[in-house]
């Protein structure tokens, strides 16, 4: 399977099974389109545009790639050898929040349930469960999540200490992340987080009007002015350690590239802005009618990204434009999906296990608890057979090994079926991959 596309004056051919990306001249693009190169009646139509010798020379280059398994590569035969062990955990430190964001999948922090805080005892059991169920895997990831996790900051500190104490005994390494709305981010917490957290996700949607439309305080006012100085101060102290300012775009800000630009102009250089996960009936949900506008918006963002990254003072990272063409994951990882319910679980304050944070509160998805581990195999097993080659829509998609199958919660929200991905999400993902390849190619030409 191959995919040919162009952005502006650059043309590409992606070979799905080898993962090879070829930057090609337009003559190759024209020959690959509709497989014209295979049929003289079709490729001779191009003689008006290119001379015959050039067409034949180009066809011989295409044939060279085919002969060397670089184009139209056959399906990869492999058996999944990654043993599914739990290696990542989303720890819901609170089911409570000090903001009332309208799009919150966690129902303003409570996940449709009672307000609750995760205790140190429950957190300890969660960590014990993680180290004992992670097999030979050394690197373990824990994200302190919520609600708003900093409302339960003292427990986070105790759990970090506990995690470190387990590392030697079990030969593990914890990578901690905290995801916060920034409201409680004072100097003490900044210093602690900078010292102890491998990654930090700071929630903000971008421009003040974008952010304040959805991210509101308990009194219904916008939160932008309350967090922005905290974030600036925090990032100044963060040094070279990882972080992301992370926003959500909805049908209310289809021009989300302006939100990215705004955040860059504020001085943030690691930015992620993502499509909302929402039920179809929500008025802010992203629907088919928005797809074309959003795809153009990604191209606009790609141009801004290229322009900024030509200047070392304006350079930034946009999470979804990162693409690893050589140093990326292996085929096993690329085909396996996000790992929800198989290598990743979310833990609630009462110690229930869910396949991921997006399913918390939907009790039919409870797969177990921190004391007994995974007990509901019927649900947990549904997350085992959702690789890209299990799902018909993914199997025939050129981007399957870049995407890995999309978000299960999105699939469930829109189609009530983990095996049917959310098609608008797929369209946007394919566009992001195209833009990432385009950006990589522009860099390639600049450097060579």
């Amino acid at each position: 399977m191959i995919h040919v596309f162009n952005i502006k004056e650059l043309y590409f051919a992606v070979d799905t099974n080898s993962g090879l990306v070829h930057a090609v001249d337009k003559i190759i693009y024209d020959l690959l389109m509709n497989e014209r190169f295979k049929d003289e009646n079709k490729y001779s139509e191009l003689y008006d545009e290119y001379d015959e010798n050039s067409v034949k020379e180009a066809i011989s280059e295409i044939q060279y790639l085919i002969d060397n398994n670089m184009l139209y590569t056959e399906d990869i035969k492999y058996e999944n050898k990654i043993q599914p062990v739990i290696k990542a955990m989303c720890l819901n430190m609170t089911h409570d929040c000090n903001l009332r964001c309208e799009y919150c999948f966690a129902s303003q922090g409570t996940y449709n349930g009672e307000k609750a805080f995760l205790s140190f005892e429950t957190g300890k059991k969660a960590f014990d469960y993680l180290v004992k169920n992670s097999g030979n895997r050394r690197n373990l990831e824990v994200d302190f999540f919520g609600g708003e996790p900093l409302m339960n900051f003292e427990t986070i500190k105790k759990l970090v200490d506990y995690g470190r104490s387990l590392e030697k005994e079990y030969n593990k390494h914890f990578r901690f992340t905290v995801t916060t709305n920034g409201l409680l981010l004072d100097e003490e917490k900044m210093d602690y987080i900078n010292e102890n957290m491998d990654n930090v996700v700071l929630s903000i949607d971008g421009r003040k009007e974008t952010n304040d439309r959805m991210r509101k305080t308990i009194n219904g006012k916008g939160s932008y002015d309350l967090i922005i100085d905290n974030y600036k101060k925090f990032i100044n102290k963060r040094g070279n350690k990882d972080y992301f300012v992370r926003g959500t775009f909805t049908s209310n800000n289809l021009d989300f590239s302006e939100d990215v630009r705004h955040m860059r102009e504020l001085g943030f250089d690691k930015i992620s802005v993502e499509p909302v996960v929402a039920k179809m009936e929500e008025k802010y949900a992203l629907k088919e009618e928005h797809a074309d506008i959003l795809k153009k918006e990604y191209e606009k963002l790609a141009e801004y990204y290229i322009e900024s990254n030509n200047d070392k003072n304006k350079r930034f990272e946009f999470f979804h434009f990162n693409i690893e063409l050589d140093g990326g994951p292996c085929i096993y990882k690329r085909s396996a999906g996000c790992g929800a319910g198989t290598e990743y679980v979310a833990v609630t304050p009462s110690g229930e296990l869910y396949p991921c944070h997006q399913f918390v509160g939907n009790e039919e998805f409870i797969i177990g608890n921190v004391e007994e581990g995974i007990t509901n195999r019927t649900i947990a097993d549904k997350f085992k057979n959702v690789s890209v080659n299990d799902k018909p829509a993914c199997r025939d998609c050129w981007a399957k090994y870049f995407c890995s199958g999309g978000c299960h919660a999105n699939a469930y929200n829109f189609n009530k079926d983990l095996n049917i991905p959310y098609d608008v999400g797929c369209e946007l993902e394919r566009k992001r991959v195209e833009c990432s390849i385009y950006i990589k190619t522009v860099r390639f030409y600049v450097n060579n």
Partner: protein, 46 residues
């Protein structure tokens, strides 16, 4: 090649017998928390 420049050196289907250690980051845990993407992650072996 006159008309084609291949951007990557390694193929996904090369040496698959020595891959699959599983030490890599869990996709959703990286930054996004909503949209699974693996093409932008790094292999821990490299």
């Amino acid at each position: 090649m006159k008309y084609i420049k291949t951007l990557n050196k390694n193929k996904l289907n090369d040496n698959i017998s020595i891959k699959g250690c599983g030490e890599c980051q869990t996709s959703c845990q990286s930054a996004c928390k909503t949209s699974c993407t693996v093409g932008n992650q790094k292999c821990e072996q490299k």
